[in-house]
C-alpha cells in the first residue's frame, strides 16, 4: 500500500492537466455556466482521446482496466478546473453501480459514446442512501416517483435507478434542472410515472455511494489546491501599505495553516484510494470536504473586493466546495459513522 502517486498516475495527470489548461481555463467555465454549463466537446476529448471514461471498467468489458487511483488523479485535475464534464457522475458513480452487473452498457460508457447518471440524490449518503427518492416499482417493472438533487442527469443518455436492491435502466424520463448552488455541476429532479425500465441487476447503493464519497475527496483536494495556489499568487502580487499583502504575518500564518490542511487532505485522499475501507472513506470524506470549503472561503476573503465579484472565478470553487460538502454525506454524517466504526460510542450507546 502506498500513499504516493505512481508514474502512470502522474502521466495521466499531466495529459489531463494539459488539456484542461488549454480548453477549460476558469474564464471559459465562467463564460458558459449560465447558458450551457456542460462542456460536451471537452468531454468528448477527455473520454475519447485521453480515455478517462473507461478507467474503472475492466478491459474485457471494453474499458481501460485501470483503478480508483487513476480515477482519483483525474478528479483532482477536474476539481482544479471545476471542469463541467460528467466524469464523476457517469464514469465514477454510474459506472460503479453498473460494474457488478457486467452489463453491455459499460462498453458504451467506456468509450464515452453514451453517458449515464445514477438516479440518486447527491444529498444521499452511504448511511441514508434513499434520501431524496420516492421511486417505487410496480408488478410490470415500471417505475414511479421522483428523485431530487440528481447530479449529471441533465447530460445523461441513460438513468440508472436503484429501487429495493435492484438497478433499473431508464431512457427518456423527464429531467428538470433546478437552479443549483453549484453552477458547474447543476442538479435536477427526475420524475417517473409508470415509466418502462429495464432491470439490469442487483445494486448495493450504499456501497456505490461510499465508493463515490472516497473519490469525491480527491476532487475536493483539487478544488482546495486551486484555491490555495491562486491565493498564494495573488498575495505575492497585490500590494497595500507599500508591501505585498503576502508579507503580512496575519496572512502568512493563515496560509500556512491552510497549506497544512491541504497536505493532510492529500494524504487522506490517497489513503481512501489505497484502502477503500469504510473508515478510510469516512476520514477522507469528512476531512477533505471541510478543507475544500475552508480554503475556498479563505481564498475569497484574501482576494478582498475582487473575490466578491462574479467576474473572478473563485466563486465557482466556493460553490463547488460548498455543494460537495453536502454530496454523499456531510462531514458530520461521516464523523457520526466513525463513532461505531472505530469504537467511539455516543452517549447512551454501547
Amino acid at each position: 500500500m502506498t500513499l504516493l502517486y505512481s508514474e502512470v498516475e502522474e502521466e495521466l495527470r499531466s495529459s489531463v492537466r494539459g488539456l484542461l489548461a488549454d480548453r477549460c481555463p476558469p474564464a471559459a467555465v465562467l463564460q458558459r455556466v449560465e447558458s450551457e454549463p456542460n462542456d460536451l466537446d471537452l468531454w468528448k476529448t477527455l473520454a475519447g482521446e485521453i480515455g478517462v471514461a473507461g478507467l474503472l471498467i475492466p478491459e474485457e468489458l471494453g474499458g481501460a482496466g485501470a483503478g480508483p487511483g487513476e480515477a482519483a488523479v483525474v478528479l483532482e485535475e477536474l476539481g482544479r478546473s471545476v471542469a463541467p464534464v460528467p466524469f464523476f457522475t457517469s464514469s465514477v458513480l454510474a459506472t460503479r453501480a453498473l460494474l457488478p452487473t457486467r452489463d453491455a452498457l459499460l462498453g458504451e460508457l467506456a468509450e464515452g459514446r453514451r453517458t449515464a447518471a445514477l438516479a440518486v440524490s447527491f444529498a444521499a449518503s452511504p448511511y441514508a442512501p434513499a434520501r431524496g427518492s420516492s421511486v417505487t416499482v410496480d408488478g410490470d417493472g415500471r417505475l414511479s416517483g421522483t428523485v431530487s438533487g440528481v447530479a449529471g442527469a441533465d447530460v445523461a443518455d441513460v438513468l440508472l435507478v436503484p429501487v429495493d436492491g435492484d438497478l433499473y435502466a431508464v431512457e427518456g424520463a423527464p429531467v428538470t434542472v433546478v437552479p443549483s448552488l453549484d453552477l458547474t455541476r447543476p442538479v435536477a429532479t427526475v420524475t417517473f410515472a409508470r415509466t418502462p425500465a429495464r432491470r439490469v441487476g442487483a445494486c448495493d447503493v450504499a456501497a456505490v455511494l461510499r465508493f463515490g464519497a472516497g473519490l469525491l475527496a480527491s476532487e475536493q483536494l483539487g478544488v482546495a489546491e486551486w484555491c490555495l495556489d491562486t491565493t498564494l499568487a495573488y498575495v505575492k502580487e497585490r500590494h497595500q501599505f507599500a508591501r505585498p499583502i503576502g508579507s503580512f504575518q496575519a496572512i502568512k500564518h493563515r496560509l500556512a495553516d491552510l497549506w497544512l490542511d491541504v497536505v493532510r487532505a492529500r494524504a487522506a485522499a490517497r489513503n481512501a484510494v489505497a484502502d477503500a475501507s469504510s473508515v478510510s472513506v469516512a476520514v477522507a470524506a469528512s476531512w477533505n470536504a471541510g478543507v475544500a470549503v475552508r480554503v475556498a472561503e479563505e481564498a475569497l476573503q484574501l482576494h478582498g473586493g475582487i473575490g466578491m465579484t462574479w467576474e473572478h472565478p473563485v466563486h465557482l470553487y466556493l460553490k463547488r466546495a460548498k455543494a460537495a460538502e453536502i454530496a454523499l454525506g456531510t462531514p458530520g454524517d461521516h464523523r457520526e459513522a466513525l463513532a461505531s466504526l472505530v469504537g467511539v460510542p455516543a452517549p447512551g450507546a454501547e
Binding site: A256, V263, R270, V283, E336
Partner: protein, 387 residues
C-alpha cells in the same frame, strides 16, 4: 541491502548475543553489528542501508533491551545527525557509540534568556585561546542538563559581523569546570529543564563541530532534525494520546455528552489525517523525494496534543492533580502521569523546538514562497543590534 539481508543479519546477531544477558553489553554489540541505525555508515552503528529498513530491525529486536527514548531523545534525535553531518571521523568514532547505547546522555545548549525564537542573536561568547576556546554565558530551558555528559552548544565567536555569521558550534563537556546546572521548576511542578551557567569553561578545539563562523548552518541541521523527531514518529491508527483519550471514553459511559462526542470525533479525524500525512512523508523520504511537508508535522502534532489533553481533563471532570512535588524528573513520563499533567506538559509542545508561530513563518516563507516581513537585523553587526 534489502529486508532479507537485514533479517539474516539480525538472526546471525541473535545467535551470538543473548538478549537476556547484560543490557549494556547487548546494546554495544548491536551497535558494533551495524544494527543500531542501519542508515548510518558501517563502523558507526549502521550498514549504509536505506532508512526504511530500520523498522525491520526494530520489529525483529522488539523483545530485546531497548534504548531510553526519553532521556536519549536529544542525543539520538539532534546531536547524532549533526555529528554525522559535520563531525570529523575522530568525533564520530568518539561520540556516536556511547550516545546510542545511552551510556552518555546529551543535552542542547541553544536557548538563552535573550535569544529564543531569535536564536541567532545569542550572546554566549567563545573566545579562542591557543588550542582551546573559553566559553562564558548563560543558557536556559535546557532539558535534561542534569543527566547530561555532553551538550551541543552554539556560541558567538565573532560579535563584529551580522548575527548569523558570527556563530560557531561546539560539543560542550558538561563535566568541565565552570559548568553549573540549576533546576527550573515547570508548571507541572517538577523540573525537566534547567538554567546552565557557563563561566570560563575551557573546550579544546577538537570539540568544535564544523568551521568557525559556520555555527548557524550546523544548527539548522540540528533544528530540522528536532522538528522531525518531535512531529514525525510513526504511530498506528488511533494510537498515541488519542488511544489514552479513547480508552477513557470507553471506560466512562456515564461521563459522555453529545457535545464532547462531536468534538472527539472531529479530533479523531484530524489525528488520522495527520497520521496519514506523516506516513506519506516517510514514504517520500524513503523514495528519496523529501517534501516540504515535514515542517508541518510538528505544528499539527502540537495542536492536536494540546486539544486532546485538554479534552481529557474536561471529559473526566477531574479537579485533582497527581503530584505537584518539585523534583528533578528522570524522564517525561507522559502516559504514566495523570490527565492534568498531560494537559500542562503538552503546553510546551508549541514552544519547544521552535514555536508554532515560528513554524508558520518557516512554512509560509520557505514552502509557500511568501515574502518575509521587513527586517532590520540582517546586515547589522551583532554588537550594534538593539537589545
Amino acid at each position: 541491502m534489502n529486508e532479507t539481508d537485514i533479517n539474516q543479519r539480525v538472526a546471525a546477531f541473535l545467535e551470538e548475543h543473548d538478549p537476556g544477558g547484560d543490557r549494556l553489553e547487548f546494546l554495544r554489540a548491536r551497535f558494533d553489528a551495524g544494527l543500531a541505525w542501519v542508515w548510518f555508515p558501517e563502523g558507526l552503528g549502521g550498514l549504509g542501508a536505506p532508512r526504511e529498513l530500520q523498522q525491520v530491525v526494530e520489529r525483529e529486536l522488539a523483545d530485546t533491551p531497548q534504548l531510553n527514548s526519553g532521556k536519549q531523545a536529544i542525543g539520538l534525535g539532534m546531536a547524532a545527525p549533526t555529528i554525522l553531518a559535520f563531525g570529523t571521523a575522530e568525533q564520530q568514532r568518539r561520540f556516536l557509540r556511547p550516545l546510542w547505547t545511552g551510556e552518555e546522555i546529551w543535552c542542547q545548549l541553544f536557548s538563552e534568556p535573550g535569544a529564543g525564537s531569535d536564536l541567532a542573536t545569542l550572546a554566549t561568547r567563545a573566545v579562542r585561546d591557543g588550542d582551546e576556546w573559553v566559553v562564558d554565558g548563560q543558557k536556559v530551558w535546557t532539558s535534561g542538563a542534569h543527566h547530561a555528559r555532553w551538550a551541543i552548544l552554539v556560541a558567538r565567536t565573532d560579535p563584529d559581523v551580522p548575527k548569523h555569521r558570527g556563530l560557531t558550534y561546539f560539543v560542550c563537556d558538561m563535566h568541565a569546570p565552570g559548568v553549573e546546572v540549576r533546576p527550573l521548576r515547570q508548571i507541572t511542578g517538577e523540573a525537566e529543564f534547567n538554567e546552565v551557567f557557563l563561566t570560563g569553561v575551557r573546550l579544546s578545539d577538537d570539540l568544535r563541530l564544523g568551521e568557525v563562523g559556520d555555527g548557524w548552518r550546523v544548527a539548522q541541521t540540528t533544528l530540522m532534525n528536532e522538528r522531525v523527531a518531535i512531529g514525525g514518529a510513526p504511530t498506528r491508527r488511533g494510537g498515541g494520546v488519542m488511544a489514552s483519550v479513547v480508552s477513557a471514553w470507553r471506560e466512562h459511559p456515564e461521563l459522555r455528552t453529545h457535545e464532547l462526542h462531536q468534538r472527539l470525533l472531529a479530533l479523531w479525524v484530524e489525528a488520522e489525517a495527520t497520521r496519514l500525512s506523516g506516513a506519506r512523508l516517510r514514504e517520500q523520504l524513503a523514495a528519496g523525494q523529501p517534501g516540504p511537508e515535514g515542517s508541518g508535522m510538528k505544528l499539527a502534532f502540537a495542536k492536536l496534543n494540546q486539544e486532546l489533553t485538554g479534552f481529557d481533563v474536561e471529559f473526566l471532570r477531574d479537579l485533582g492533580y497527581d503530584d505537584w512535588a518539585f523534583r528533578r524528573s528522570e524522564d517525561v513520563d507522559f502516559f504514566g502521569r495523570g490527565p492534568g499533567y498531560r494537559y500542562l506538559r503538552a503546553k510546551g509542545n508549541s514552544i519547544e523546538g521552535g514555536t508554532s508561530e515560528i513554524l508558520r513563518n518557516i512554512i509560509s516563507e520557505r514552502v509557500l514562497g511568501l515574502p518575509s516581513e521587513p527586517r532590520i537585523d540582517k546586515d547589522v553587526p551583532w554588537k550594534d543590534l538593539p537589545r
